[in-house]
């Protein structure tokens, strides 16, 4: 089923490209256009913080030949600047106006820099960022990483693997505390130290000044450290500013139902990091892919909607640890079950009052993480 104007996807990263591909896989035969602000052929993001400094991290999400063969029109280097949801018109930065039967918002995030927006300070979200970061690590002796979340931890790990000194600063007492809790977070702190990182948890950067080719950094613990490069990984803003005045309901992401249909805006959907489905906005790759498949199905087969999304899942590779997080973890509480084995692996699970699993963490134990995801998909029974 398709109308003459077809589907316009705004944002050509994993959520947007997977939506376009899934539309074709599910037999949608109308026009499919993907509007993407960047000039690069769409590429994937998880590799940008992984692998080695010497290897380029470009993993394409689609090639120009595939796009052509699938009848997906890539409108690169064009930014959507305004949407009229009622009249189903999308305005691009070159003044072009696209009409559509369905619009899919997949505009993702922009990393936050403030208050560390000093000349040359690096963030990591795009391929260009990743190339600049790799160059910076390669010519540095000492790198300062601000923020010990997923991005900061993976950047620290990338730099250490290259033999570069790392100072890692985070105001929280332990890294990853928000996603695994304080007790397990302590193990992540030890992981950084074991790999030679100068960890400064519970500290903040109170002043960051450019000196010559590098930086002079004053920490709240009173120390002054020097760095050749500074990387900031302190979270992101949702790219929804262009939707001002569109008529869409936006509240830290496009507000959608449990299958990604924008509320009160027929024909409009949102997927990936910029979408809030049933009250929850997730910033992970697997959710973006699951949501893309679900929305493509609603568009291609409105009478046979997809099953609700599987439990949340994210992986992170830090040093020699393969970390996998599933479901919901009430990290204010300790996990009920913690299992460890040699060579080192760990699995921790959280349960509800009825003893059903709600979520878990594994390190170097993919099988166990699969078991948890399967149990969650069954409603939490063991």
């Amino acid at each position: 089923m398709s109308g003459a104007d077809g589907v316009v996807v705004v944002g050509g990263s994993v959520a947007g490209i997977r939506t376009a591909r899934a539309l074709r896989e599910q037999g949608y035969d109308g026009p499919v256009r993907v509007v993407e602000a960047e000039a690069e052929v769409p590429y994937d993001k998880p590799p940008l913080s992984k692998g080695s400094v010497d290897a380029d991290a470009c993993v394409p999400l689609i090639t120009l030949e595939e796009a052509e063969a699938l009848g997906i029109e890539l409108v690169l280097r064009r930014r959507a600047v305004a949407l009229d949801a009622d009249r189903r018109r999308l305005t691009l930065d070159d003044g072009n106006v696209l009409s559509f039967d369905h619009l899919v918002v997949a505009t993702g995030l922009t990393p936050r820099r403030a208050p560390y927006d000093v000349e040359g300070v690096l963030v990591l979200r795009t391929l260009a960022d990743s190339r600049a970061l790799r160059e910076a690590i390669a010519r540095s002796q000492q790198v300062l990483v601000i923020g010990a979340g997923f991005i900061g931890a993976e950047v620290a790990s990338l730099a250490r693997r290259h033999g570069v000194g790392v100072t890692l600063v985070d105001p929280e007492p332990v890294p990853m505390g928000r996603v695994v809790g304080t007790e397990l977070g302590g193990r992540f702190a030890a992981l950084h130290r074991r790999h030679g990182v100068d960890t400064r948890f519970g500290s903040t950067v109170t002043s960051l000044v450019r000196v010559g080719d590098g930086y002079r950094v004053l920490l709240s613990d009173g120390d002054v450290v020097a760095a050749d490069a500074v990387v900031v990984g302190i979270g992101s803003e949702v790219n929804v500013g262009w939707l001002a005045g569109s008529g869409l309901l936006v509240d830290d992401g496009v507000v959608c139902d449990e299958r990604g249909a924008a509320l009160r805006a027929p024909g409009i959907h949102a997927v990936g990091d910029a979408a809030r489905w049933a009250g929850v906005r997730v910033e992970h790759w697997t959710s973006a892919v699951d949501q893309a498949v679900c929305v493509a199905r609603s568009i291609a087969h409105p009478d046979e909607p997809a099953a609700p999304a599987p439990p949340a899942y994210v992986w992170s590779d830090q040093y020699d640890w393969k970390i996998q997080l599933v479901g919901d973890r009430d990290v204010a509480r300790l996990p009920e079950v913690v299992e460890e084995a040699e060579p080192f692996r760990l699995a921790a699970t959280w349960h509800d009052a009825e003893g059903r699993i709600t979520g878990g963490v594994t390190v170097n134990w993919p099988r166990e993480s699969v078991r948890m995801r399967a149990a969650l998909a069954r409603g939490g029974a063991a």
Partner: protein, 65 residues
């Protein structure tokens, strides 16, 4: 019949494939994918291919034999 292929060296044990189709994909104790079927029924292609595409490192694909 489509033939299932895996790049075992590329596999990182992220295991999205197993969650999507556990009758076709499994994971061993070292966290490497195990293919439970060598060939796939044409009728199963879409489901198995969707599971393959859920691999974050593109370690899985179908080939036409």
């Amino acid at each position: 019949m489509p033939v299932l292929k895996a790049d075992l060296a590329a596999c990182q044990g992220y295991a999205n494939c197993v969650v999507a189709a556990d009758d076709v994909y499994d994971i061993d104790d070292d966290g490497v994918v195990v293919l439970l079927q060598a060939t796939i029924d044409e009728a199963e292609r879409t489901r198995v291919e969707t599971a393959a595409r859920s691999c974050p490192v593109s370690a899985l694909w179908l080939e036409d034999a």
